[in-house]
């Protein structure tokens, strides 16, 4: 970008500026801190200049939006063409209540759905399982069978909305239910648009809703890749998630590195299962966090896009440009929300929204101010959605593509995050890939160290969290919060008992037996799971069959 002579001149004048101008000021007005750092503890210099990006090659490192290496964005016109999808993650209590919330959100101008399931559903237990006690309908909607799914999407045309489902270990079962509901609406599979999270590796690392050991889990995932490439071609078959890695306390670099390392593992598994990289890679999608350090976050998304494009092209020899495009959903950072002075969270979420948008996200969930206290109320959810709409329609940042490109600081940070992520990925490769690195506890330990350091920085006052360790007030104001009571669990159990009485139980037995037989072979399980859900076999029954064949994952506790 700059020739050597020019760079040397700038270096000389920086030295001069430091001596003549900066030192004079500092001797009278010292800087606030000895060392300045990003939200992820990377050192930040006083000033960034062309010297910091002296080897920068515009065409090679940035290029153009919609073209390799996609640093500036995956679409040529970005938000000038179409704004990101505003997709609020929602779901609680029963399918009826969640259905109402979805309709409310769609009326308010939301453009896609995002389903939150309760924990028993996410771990493949029916609502009447002993371990489900106290958890039914709490963090999401309880789904036991196709019956619940029919209610959940009642009156919502599945050929018109795109739906994202945060479901991992039993992703194939919930996807099958979604396909079955669509069929009942008269919508064929090839018209369905949406995403299943389906990212089991980060469950072992950070989120915890695993069921089966890694090997059969990876098989279920590649089954979905293969099935959808033929039958549900517009469906995003996985959302490789850094979000939870970051929530668990990782740095921005670790978020990029561990997510892409998991991505590499999925691509390798699918290739080993005999798939062609360009048949499934265009449907891989990603999910990142948006933290408070605005410029570091923007650099993070840009670095992730460039690095993934390079990995797909160079390492996996992908030919289809779509295989190289890192498309991602973003959620603002739950871990940055404070229970103290909760309205302050609206401002945090605004900064995080800007980060995601300036970083070129494809869709966004904004957290509600009260989520450090409980599930959000309708009013809080509306403010969160309005935050996106204000950034979209009033801030002006959407009018040109990748507006922060060329900032010495942002480009230098983008390079640095990419370089450090590459070093982590090399280390993980040395350990034998992400699944092995997880088994050895390497990834978990790296995250825990970062999380602990972060907490200690807050406690020492080195890091300020407004309202928590500075600018505190006596908290008096009582907030209205949303609660899910026990009747949800009882109703759900009743519904389940009724279903088990009314359905054709011989048919259920037949489809479950067939599923079990097929699970013991190498066949793709998706068609058999689809048959099982259509016969109203429950989620728990289907997962139990698979538990029998695959066994259950045992977590190794790492401290």
């Amino acid at each position: 970008m700059f020739d050597g002579k020019k760079i040397n001149e700038i270096k000389t004048s920086i030295d001069r500026w430091e001596k003549e101008t900066v030192e004079k000021t500092i001797s009278r007005f010292p800087e606030r801190k000895e060392k300045f750092t990003t939200g992820s503890n990377a050192e930040v210099k006083r000033l960034y200049t062309p010297v910091d990006i002296k080897d920068f090659d515009y065409e090679e490192d940035l290029g153009y939006p919609g073209e390799y290496p996609y640093t500036r964005g995956v679409q040529p016109t970005m938000y000038r063409g179409r704004l990101w999808t505003m997709r609020q993650y929602a779901g609680f209590a029963t399918a009826e209540e969640s259905n109402e919330r979805y309709k409310y959100l769609l009326e308010q101008g939301q453009t896609g759905l995002s389903v939150a399931f309760d924990l028993p559903t996410q771990i493949g237990y029916d609502s009447d399982h002993p371990l489900a006690e106290g958890e039914v309908g709490k963090v999401g909607v309880a789904i036991d069978s196709l019956k619940d799914m029919e209610v959940l999407f009642d009156g919502i045309p599945l050929d018109k909305v795109s739906t994202s489902m945060t479901i991992n270990a039993p992703a194939s079962v919930l996807l099958a239910m979604y396909i079955a509901v669509a069929e009942k609406q008269g919508v064929s599979k090839d018209k369905l648009r949406g995403t299943i999270q389906n990212d089991i590796l980060k469950e072992y690392i950070a989120r915890g809703t695993y069921i089966f050991p890694p090997e059969p889990s990876m098989r279920l995932i590649t089954n979905i890749f293969e099935y959808c490439s033929r039958e549900v071609p517009k469906w995003n078959t996985i959302s490789i998630s850094g979000y939870h890695v970051r929530e668990a306390g990782s740095t921005a670099v670790q978020e990029v590195a561990f997510t892409l390392a998991n991505g590499i593992a999925y691509v390798e598994a699918a290739i080993n299962a005999g798939l062609d990289v360009d048949d499934f890679a265009p449907r891989l999608s990603f999910f990142f966090n948006a933290h408070n350090d605005l410029l570091e976050e923007v650099a993070k998304y840009r670095a992730a896009r460039r690095l993934w494009a390079r990995i797909m092209k160079e390492r996996f020899k992908a030919k289809n440009p779509k295989s190289m495009q890192l498309k991602f959903h973003t959620q603002t950072a739950g871990s940055t929300l404070t229970a103290q002075q909760p309205d302050n969270n609206i401002i945090r979420v605004t900064i995080q929204t800007l980060a995601a948008v300036l970083g070129g996200t494809q869709s966004l969930h904004t957290n509600s101010r009260d989520e450090a206290l409980a599930l959000p109320t309708e009013e809080s959810v509306r403010i969160a959605l309005r935050t996106q709409q204000i950034v979209a329609y009033e801030s002006g940042v959407t009018e040109t593509v990748d507006p922060l490109a060329g900032s010495y600081y942002v480009e230098s940070l983008t390079n640095k995050i990419e370089e450090e992520a590459i070093r982590y990925i090399e280390k993980i490769d040395e350990l034998g890939g992400a699944p092995k690195a997880i088994e050895k506890g390497y990834i978990q330990r790296e995250i825990q160290n970062a999380a602990y350091r972060y907490q200690m920085e807050i406690e020492s006052g080195e890091r300020i969290v407004v309202g928590v360790n500075k600018f505190q007030i006596e908290e008096t104001e009582k907030k209205e919060i949303l609660k899910v009571d026990r009747t949800v669990e009882l109703n759900q159990k009743e519904k389940l008992a009724r279903l088990k009485k009314e359905r054709n139980n011989e048919e259920v037995e037949r489809v479950l037996k067939l599923l079990k037989e097929k699970a013991e072979t190498d066949e793709n399980l998706m068609p058999y799971i689809l048959d099982a859900v259509k016969a109203y076999a429950t989620l728990g029954e289907i997962c139990d069959v698979l538990r029998e064949v695959f066994s259950e994952y045992e977590q190794s506790v790492i401290l």
């Binding site: 771990i123 469950e203 668990a248 206290l373 409980a374 602990y452 977590q555």
Partner: protein, 131 residues
């Protein structure tokens, strides 16, 4: 008593958010306590069995899913049923203020919510041991 304070850090229920549990575990360890961490998805029965087997002075539970009203008191009651009444039981997580009085009445001696300093937890444990 010269032996270090022994603490069982436990994750009852199904939620997998153990950042807080692990940070607390490490902070207690750095404060000189012996810490055993159960890992995820522990039933109240498993937690009580571990507490007895490890002969701990403190059981520190963390929940972020909202199942605290159901699961925390069960641990207290099961410990009582086993005849253990000298263990300090504390809890933390995303717990609405309205639920705290009920939990305290049920025998959880303190509830720590988001934003709590680990120093406060350490201090509380040292000052409220029952043996």
């Amino acid at each position: 008593m010269d032996r270090p304070i022994r603490v069982l850090v436990a994750k009852p229920g199904l939620d997998g958010h153990d950042r807080g549990a692990k940070v607390i575990a490490r902070a207690l360890r750095d404060a000189g306590m012996e810490v055993i961490y159960t890992g995820l998805r522990q039933t109240p029965e498993q937690i009580v069995a571990a507490a007895i087997q490890e002969d701990v002075d403190v059981v520190a539970m963390s929940i972020l899913s909202g199942a605290h009203n159901h699961l925390f008191p069960r641990v207290v009651n099961l410990l009582k049923e086993e005849g253990v009444d000298d263990v300090l039981i504390i809890g933390g997580g995303v717990i609405p203020e309205d639920d705290i009085p009920f939990l305290l009445e049920s025998g959880i001696e303190a509830i720590f919510t988001p934003g709590t300093s680990t120093k406060d937890v350490i201090e509380f444990i040292k000052n409220n041991l029952k043996r």
